[in-house]
Symmetry: C2
Subunit: 514 residues, 2 copies
């Protein structure tokens, strides 16, 4: 819309120039996170952590409403727990942080070392996920069918020793929630698996304004030990797929290795059917790459720590108190309003920084509405209102609207709701436009598109297994492609498998990924 030649964007790198570089700049300029100096671990800064707190608050309410209880399980898992679970211990090799000592001492030469005297008899693994330790607890808690379903969740940090890390998307330590449930039978467990998947879909498309496709992962992409893995996949602005949440039906496998058994109504012993499901701080990466523009993040109002920022234009003179008083009144008026069932979150930014620097700092953070108030606005009873989702006018100038205060206040809730809806609609249109169903040759379609702007391709396939599946996976890998999921809501199949020519049984999405 805006004449791009006139706009000097707030970031140095644009999305089309260098998507990965742009992503890093949004994160650093938006004060979302930064490298910590500890390999693969990030510091989540207040604005980024505030978004995570919003996600936690809204998601936790959904989890509790489903009758799931929050608990807390140990950070450390004894190595033997992994032996129990591993199919083939000798072929096992997994990247995990291993604790081997319990004391630091000086080495007599000015350096600290792990005290050799403090070596643990059994090393401890820092949890990469908690199926094993929660399974052990469930085996103590479940005796009878009356104890089922048993549904627990924890909000926790987990560690996976990633070789190549990227903030929010793939870090050695990350924050997440992991739900774990045990049920009497397959039907009840599958119902819970699908409930969690639908909770994630609605959460992504609601509070995150991030359209996704919910579906089942192909066999080769299943969580190890799962009977079925479902995911929500979101399309980033470079066309790549981000797996944004997963829900697993684990059958009785984990119950067997953990000993989760119950006496059924007839008095015989049965293994429980279990599920697990999780989303993580990766969602924040998804929000950035779904909604960010060349001026930084555009944060959906439902998860913005502050929805409206009021910036008083202070000049160190007598007008200042009048301006501040006007801003305080405006804030009070806005705080009395609610959007999405919660009071508006409104910040009066009185830090000792230049007002124009503040404006651009909040633009880069993606605050949904930025309001500036100077002495002239006070005398005219107005406010200078900037919507973050529509920053520029057609002529490339900032689309600041000088609005009578009462008019702004009375329209604020509708504006907040409209920004949320606009962000979703934009992203949804982009995703829909970039899922192609008419592609006959993947190599041609994705040729010269290392950055992934070609989006996704939906094909129908016969869902082969074993060697036939391996062959497809290899073919795709050669093109740097992966199968994302088989959408739950897809058109009926009709005809031959894209890969094998056999009769197709379902549709599947193919694309590049992170």
């Amino acid at each position: 819309m805006a004449d791009k030649n006139l706009i000097k964007h707030a970031l140095n790198v644009t999305r089309t120039q260098n998507f990965a570089g742009w992503y890093q700049e949004v994160i650093s300029e938006g004060d979302l996170a930064e490298e910590s100096g500890v390999r693969g671990c990030m510091v989540i800064r207040p604005w980024g952590y505030g978004i995570w707190e919003r996600i936690q608050k809204l998601m936790d309410a959904e989890i509790k409403a489903a009758g799931v209880d929050n608990c807390y399980f140990p950070l450390f898992i004894p190595l033997s727990f992994f032996e129990k679970e591993a199919d083939h211990v000798d072929g096992f090799a997994k990247e995990m942080a291993v604790v081997t000592h319990h004391r630091l001492v000086g080495d007599g030469k000015g350096k600290l070392i792990p005290d050799p005297e403090s070596k643990l008899e059994e090393p401890l693994v820092v949890r990469p996920t908690s199926e094993t330790v929660i399974g052990a607890a469930m085996s103590r808690w479940v005796q009878s069918w009356r104890d089922l379903p048993l549904m627990v969740n924890q909000w926790a940090n987990v560690v996976r020793w990633e070789m190549r890390t990227r903030m929010f998307l793939r870090t050695s330590e990350f924050l997440w929630q992991e739900g774990h449930t045990a049920h009497v039978d397959r039907e009840d467990a599958l119902k819970e698996t699908m409930r969690a998947l639908e909770m994630y879909r609605a959460f992504a498309e609601g509070p995150l304004a991030m359209p996704v496709v919910a579906g089942e992962k192909p066999e080769n992409e299943r969580f190890p030990g799962a009977v079925a893995t479902y995911s929500i996949e979101a399309m980033m602005q470079d066309g790549k797929a981000l797996q944004a949440g997963t829900s697993h039906y684990l059958g009785t496998g984990f119950a067997e290795s953990s000993g989760i058994r119950y006496q059924d109504k007839e008095g015989s012993q049965q293994y429980a059917h279990t599920t697990s499901w999780g989303v993580s701080t990766r969602l924040i990466g998804g929000v950035i790459m779904t909604h960010g523009d060349d001026d930084g993040l555009r944060c959906p109002p439902q998860i913005a720590p502050h929805q409206i920022i009021i910036i008083p234009m202070l000049r160190d003179n007598d007008d200042d108190e009048v301006v501040l008083e006007y801003c305080r009144t405006l804030r009070t008026e806005l705080l009395a309003l609610s959007a999405f069932g919660e009071p508006l979150r409104v910040l009066l930014d009185t830090k000792a920084t230049k007002a124009s620097n503040k404006r651009w700092s909040w633009v880069k953070k993606g605050a949904p509405i930025i309001v500036e108030v100077g002495p002239r606005d006070v005398s005219e009873g107005k406010a200078a209102v900037l919507r973050r989702d529509r920053l520029y006018k057609d002529d490339g100038k900032l689309a600041t609207a000088f609005t009578p205060r009462a008019e702004f206040v009375s329209g604020a809730v509708a504006m907040i709701e409209d920004i949320q809806a606009t962000l979703y609609a934009e992203a949804k249109a982009r995703m829909d436009a970039n899922i192609r169903r008419d592609v006959t040759d993947l190599a041609t379609h994705f040729a010269g598109d290392e950055a992934g702007f070609a989006g996704w391709v939906e094909v129908q396939w016969a869902r082969p297994t074993g060697a036939a599946l391996d062959k497809i996976v290899e073919q795709l890998k050669a093109l740097k492609l992966t199968m994302r999921n088989s959408p739950l809501e897809a058109a009926a199949v009709d005809g031959a498998c894209f890969f094998t020519g056999e009769p197709a049984v379902e549709r599947i999405l193919i694309g590049r990924t992170y």
Copy 2:
């Protein structure tokens, strides 16, 4: 009050028989927590974790209201960070979990081992506290006086390799919040130190109904590197002291080792003055040992996950739906009410367990009000109401009150508030009665009181340092006593130091501890 001979308490162990055994039984019978099978790490079960969530919610609001921003910092701290901070590296020896490898592999003989190929160049320590890593971040974030005060907090897990552990009180892994702030000068930092201390005092005596004494720790009990350490100390029912929260003024020492410097208004470089302050899941241990009785926990209403439990007496017959409908209506009526500024939390317990088992299960958990409803109550328009803080009548029978429904509902908020007040008043009277100011000989006073029922002794002292202080500490240690803190609100001193005979300068509390 109640005729004890008639009462069959819900626990097997009473407080007077075996306080430590009683404590363990409250925890296991109240479904608060359990051993995890991982050394020193506990599983926090739903009711215990629900109490922690309540503590988090209320405390977090106080922290945010003080202008402190939540962040998240890495779990792992490189060993070199501790070298920077340590005064004497060669004499350093601290119990910490040390990560030395990043991969698990099979050893070819059916066992998993840390892969020798994956040894880290620099071992990582699992954070015991985050001063060093947060200091490193602050050194990046602080440049000018305009950046100060910088106030951050994190809710996190930390690990200290404890040799003797006790659930909630001392576990290898525990959950806490740690606030870290940087200021322009001593005055501003001390103000924040005292603000945090007062926040903890008000929180303990408010939501936790747990009376405490706020004061300064003696020099030998300071946090390493602190210029001054303040604490709140709570008296448990066995008379021992529990350090329930600490707030440290760290001077410029941490700023110097981390490089937190700022340019002041005159343009010269200054080191910031820093503080840190924290409370942990230990608070739950304090609540148990302050309010528990021989029937289990009595949970203060403000931190009870559910404040009112409604138990329908179902008999698998046609009356059931009528009873359930009556209970649902009762719950709806109660949910419309608020206590302590929040809607009442009311659970309708419809699990497939016998109603009388349910009652005792909620008694042991300490739900503040338990309401039972049977067909007869429905026909009479009543409810059988049991207050957890007054479980028995004088004759030793349960003090169940058959109350007209409307009367119960209209009095429910007052009852909730009265239970909170009663728990505090009971504990306050006990603490006050067990602080003795007339003791002249500690050995005699504490003789034969290994369990600690002798409470605390307040004396006046000259606050000696160095060798004179060491001598006092040794004398006390021989009696298994420690100095707790010098109360901020103590009577003026008058006369000689209890220990040295020199002129006293302040009062100090002495007692046994955990």
